[in-house]
């Protein structure tokens, strides 16, 4: 069973539909026992970092994610806002986040190299792999994925960066450590390569060798 964390964020059902389509058994849940027993856990969503953190804390999910999901070795996938809240803090309303990975989240500049940069970034952009990861299996390096984001993750160490994307600035579009992996783009809305990465995650045992 794959647990999609229910925290009143948007977009939960589209991840569920994508998993249904690929044939995996999943549910949207906030029940601690279900999450503890899950084979995989996904934190998806669109929205703001502060509101997301508020909902996670109100349900005690922040502690559960940190201590029993990540700490317990369950493969964990963050998507979009789910990548942003795993860092220590976000520039977005100066939100304090989960602090699972060292680093922060910054807003795209509205002007870059003299050119106006539209914020949020909306559309398909290329994801270039920096190093192998089990969820990349069968996905072409440089394939395009669907992004909707005003903020981007800035990990404290290059060792956490698995893929990069350029939108004015070059930023980390896939980050990970151990049994945790997170994508800034929407796997569930990125066509065939997105579904493939989602399937790879669902087959992943959380180890990196």
């Amino acid at each position: 069973m794959i647990a999609i964390l229910d925290y009143e964020g948007g977009n939960l059902a589209s991840v569920l539909r994508a998993l249904d389509h690929t044939g995996f058994d999943a549910c949207i849940t906030r029940d601690f026992e279900t999450i503890r027993r899950a084979d995989h856990v996904i934190l998806p969503g669109v929205g703001a970092a502060r509101a997301t953190m508020h909902h996670l804390r109100a349900r005690g999910l922040d502690k559960l994610i940190r201590e029993e999901v990540i700490g317990g070795g369950i493969p964990f996938l963050g998507i979009c806002i789910g990548v942003q809240v795993i860092f220590a803090s976000s520039e977005e309303e100066e939100a304090e986040c989960l602090g699972i990975l060292p680093g922060s989240v910054r807003r795209f500049p509205s002007v870059f190299a003299g050119e106006q940069l539209k914020v949020p970034q909306i559309g398909w952009n290329q994801v270039r792999f920096c190093r192998p990861h089990p969820i990349f299996s069968g996905v072409e390096d440089g394939a395009s994925f669907y992004f909707v984001n005003s903020y981007y993750p800035v990990p404290a160490s290059e060792e956490l960066v698995y893929a990069k994307t350029t939108y004015g600035v070059e930023f980390a579009s896939v980050v990970g450590k151990g049994n945790l992996v997170a994508t800034q783009f929407h796997l569930e809305k990125s066509g065939v390569p997105g579904l493939r990465m989602l399937e790879n995650f669902c087959r992943w045992d959380g180890s990196l060798c």
């Binding site: 059902a13 994508a18 669109v46 539209k118 398909w124 909707v148 939108y167 997105g194």
Partner: protein
């Protein structure tokens, strides 16, 4: 680098695609779910549905269509047509659409844009506008006026000013439909699109007038559009999405190839 998006548009009335279609192969012509799936597999970057069902009670059919589409395609899609209230928008988003498109309803009640952006995030709110060339006047300094209700009713609003107001109110993207270019197949209104792209800081989606791949090239390269809507040029089988994308890619534009 962000790619230029190609967005097929399907007009749906009472659960069926209305414009004539001449698909080759085994696509169930007129079925919005089958057509959306076909375009998804062909490499569409996004899909737009306009519900042109007249009567209110039949809108439930559109919700069923949205829910079925959401189970079959895994790219973003938006739904527009007759959405007036927050609860109209919420139903469509909960059924699986990524975005809602508002048009005449936003002109009548601009606060709809603000409310929608606050409730669902601005990336969900697409402001669609029907624009016609008119003589420049003090009220319409750009020479482009907003029309509503299927291009029948003039509003006295300047199109550029309305676009900027829409952005301020919280629209995440703009669809700019040229009434003059629509259905004529002689190309998008490149001047209008470029002026919109210069006037706002959100993505601009050109609509109306596409008849051949070079029209998309022009509106992307000279009109600075972020995306372009295509309808009859693909619905009638004159061109396929891969053909259009190949053409644009060969001419050097950033295009998502699948």
């Amino acid at each position: 680098m962000l790619t230029k998006r190609i967005i097929p548009c399907l007009d749906v009335r009472a659960g069926k695609v209305t414009k004539g279609v001449a698909f080759q192969g085994n696509v169930d012509v007129g079925d919005p779910v089958a057509m959306a799936k076909h375009y998804y597999e062909q490499g569409a970057d996004e899909i737009v549905f306009y519900d042109i069902t007249a009567s209110h009670e039949r809108r439930d059919i559109m919700i069923d269509v949205v829910a079925s589409v959401a189970r079959e395609i895994f790219i973003p899609f938006s739904v527009g047509g007759g959405l007036r209230t927050l609860s109209d928008m919420r139903r469509v988003l909960l059924a699986g659409a990524e975005k809602v498109s508002i048009d005449s309803g936003a002109v009548r009640n601009p606060d709809t844009i603000r409310q929608g952006a606050k409730a669902f995030g601005r990336q969900c709110i697409v402001l669609s506008m029907q624009v016609k060339r008119v003589p420049c006047t003090p009220n319409i300094p750009s020479g482009y006026e907003i029309f509503i209700d299927g291009a029948r009713t003039a509003t006295g609003l300047d199109a550029i000013e309305w676009a900027q107001r829409g952005e301020e109110l919280g629209a995440g993207e703009l669809v700019v439909n040229s009434i003059d270019a629509d259905g004529v197949k002689t190309g998008y209104d490149v001047d209008l699109t470029r002026r919109m792209a210069e006037a706002v800081g959100i993505p601009v989606i050109a609509s109306g007038g596409a008849g051949e791949p070079s029209h998309l090239y022009d509106v992307f390269s000279q009109g600075n559009a972020d995306a372009a809507i295509v309808a009859s040029m693909i619905h009638f089988g004159t061109y396929s999405i891969p053909e259009i994308k190949d053409y644009l890619h060969r001419r050097g534009l950033p295009i998502r190839m699948v």
